[in-house]
């Protein structure tokens, strides 16, 4: 993509003037992440999309879309998230965050609009192309676009800064879900299930909402440092002052160890998120707890909501804590503690310890969120800030992989156990033990992370404009 213009979107036009308040940057990042985080609330459309013809979610027509067909929309979006983050990462580093954020807003908002037309025509391929493909590209570019900018503004608090932005992605689902539900209720009389007009309105809302981020984002001048900031003189081999390019980063074993770390963290988290509602209802049913004492569908939805809250809080809390504890140790905590907690879940279910079960699940999911938000700061420590956005983009292919792998593992294992006659927590036992095993792999991968070999360092000064091709 050409970027030689000196227009308002150009990187050089986003360099902050002296005295600029860096605390204006996190809200700009949040404006993007709160919007694109809607993707995790896509399931709110599942039932309405599956009953566009019949008009009754309980009795879908033969020509209605099946849950499997609808589910592919989200899967395509997540795969495109990782792929586009990997492909466009270097372009983003070169052109700066403003142009990238605008591209993200156009793709994400545009994806909704194209998707709405697909829903109107009842053409699933157009929905896949709009929300899944185009919207997914918006997700990928939007996810990574503010990250390297935040790291440059907050060299003293990288974990806090990236935690704030990536927390927004968790928060986006909390906004997107009730917003969609309210809009579908409002439009129910004018279109089947009110979904197509809801897509149009949400596309426009998100396109406009993201503009705040596009037009307020600023990058610091190359020689800028926070007032009074003195880089720590304490030697830490895992925090480099050098820079590694994105192309060189993927040649290092450190990058691939972190890829495995993220893959294990996300796959295991999906194990909880995918099973949360059926697991708690089937484990703590009326049959197990006594008539009227079991977990209802509404309470299970409340449990899922609680997990979302802890996912959000964990993104900020754990990432901020990593500024004090260190990135490698905090991932060892995520995985070490995670192994124990995942292995405990079936036992707590078997013993009908509902309160402890909920606490453990919330703790697990907070660390899952923390794993996401600590990753960019870890990358910055290991590879420097030069192309950290592009490196982060490439790392996110692990997320895409987990997005496909996680549900496959969960469904094949739990369905197999159910077919063998197991019920309640026992039906999910192998899921959680497998996820605990995955976390053990993640623990070992994190333990093996060492400083990057100097041969991969960039020689001489680096400039963002030279960053990509």
């Amino acid at each position: 993509m050409a970027d030689n213009s000196s227009g308002l979107l150009d990187r050089s036009r986003t360099i902050a003037p002296a005295g600029y308040n860096r605390w204006l940057v996190p809200p700009a990042a949040l404006a993007i992440h709160l919007a694109i985080g809607q993707a995790y609330a896509f399931s709110v459309f599942n039932k309405p999309l599956g009953s566009l013809i019949s008009g009754d979610p309980a009795h879908p027509a033969a020509t209605d879309w099946t849950p499997g067909q609808i589910g592919w929309t989200f899967s395509i979006a997540i795969v495109l998230l990782g792929l586009s983050a990997a492909v466009f990462g270097k372009w983003l580093e070169r052109v700066g965050p403003r142009k990238a954020m605008l591209a993200a807003a156009l793709c994400f908002g545009g994806g909704f609009l194209i998707g709405s037309y697909g829903i109107h025509l009842h053409n699933i391929w157009l929905l896949y192309f709009g929300y899944g493909f185009i919207g997914g590209i918006g997700l990928g570019i939007g996810y990574i676009s503010p990250v390297s900018t935040l790291i440059k503004w907050f060299p003293d608090r990288k974990g806090v800064a990236t935690g704030m932005a990536i927390m927004g992605f968790g928060g986006g689902a909390m906004i997107g879900s009730p917003l969609a539900a309210n809009l579908m209720t409002h439009f129910k009389g004018s279109a089947p299930q009110g979904v197509a007009p809801t897509f149009i309105v949400m596309g426009i809302i998100y396109l406009l909402f993201m503009q705040w981020g596009v037009w307020t984002i600023r990058v610091p001048a190359d020689d800028w440092k926070p007032a009074g900031y003195v880089p720590s003189q304490e030697h830490d081999a895992l925090i480099t002052t050098a820079n590694v390019s994105a192309d060189n980063a993927i040649k290092t074993h450190q990058f691939w160890l972190l890829w495995v770390v993220l893959l294990c963290n996300v796959t295991a988290g999906i194990g909880v998120l995918e099973t949360a509602s059926p697991l708690i209802q089937e484990t703590f049913s009326d049959a197990a707890m006594g008539v009227g004492k079991g977990v209802t569908a509404a309470a299970a939805a409340g449990f899922v909501g609680l997990l979302s809250l802890f996912n959000l809080l964990g993104r900020f809390f754990w990432s901020s804590a990593s500024d004090k504890i260190g990135r490698k140790p905090i991932y060892l905590i995520y995985f070490g503690l995670g192994v124990i907690l995942y292995a405990l879940i079936p036992t707590l279910g078997h013993n009908l310890q509902l309160t402890l079960f909920v606490i453990v699940a919330c703790l697990i999911i907070s660390m899952y969120g923390g794993g996401f938000s600590t990753a960019p700061a870890y990358l910055s420590d290991l590879f420097g800030k030069y192309q950290v956005g592009a490196i982060h983009g490439r790392l996110l292919t692990a997320w895409s992989t987990a997005g496909v792998l996680g549900p496959l593992i969960v469904h094949s294992l739990s369905e197999g156990r159910k077919a063998a006659g197991f019920t309640g927590a026992a039906a999910y036992q192998t899921v959680f033990y497998t996820m605990a095993g995955l976390l053990a792999v993640g623990f070992l991968a994190d333990l093996a992370v060492t400083a990057v070999n100097e041969k991969y360092y960039e020689k001489g000064p680096v400039t963002p404009e030279a960053g990509g091709h």
Binding site: R11, N21, L24, L34, A299, G302
Partner: protein, 48 residues
Amino acid sequence: MTPKPNATAPAVAEGSAGGSTALAWLYVGVPLLWGVSQTFIKALALFK
């Protein structure tokens, strides 16, 4: 070419910096709080 701070970019005056920052946080904070409150209300069903 190393980019230089843009002289034509609107400078944020010291006096208005606090107001701009507060406005920026309100812009993202209000919808986030709304979403969190909606989720929290839903989560209360678990404790009934």
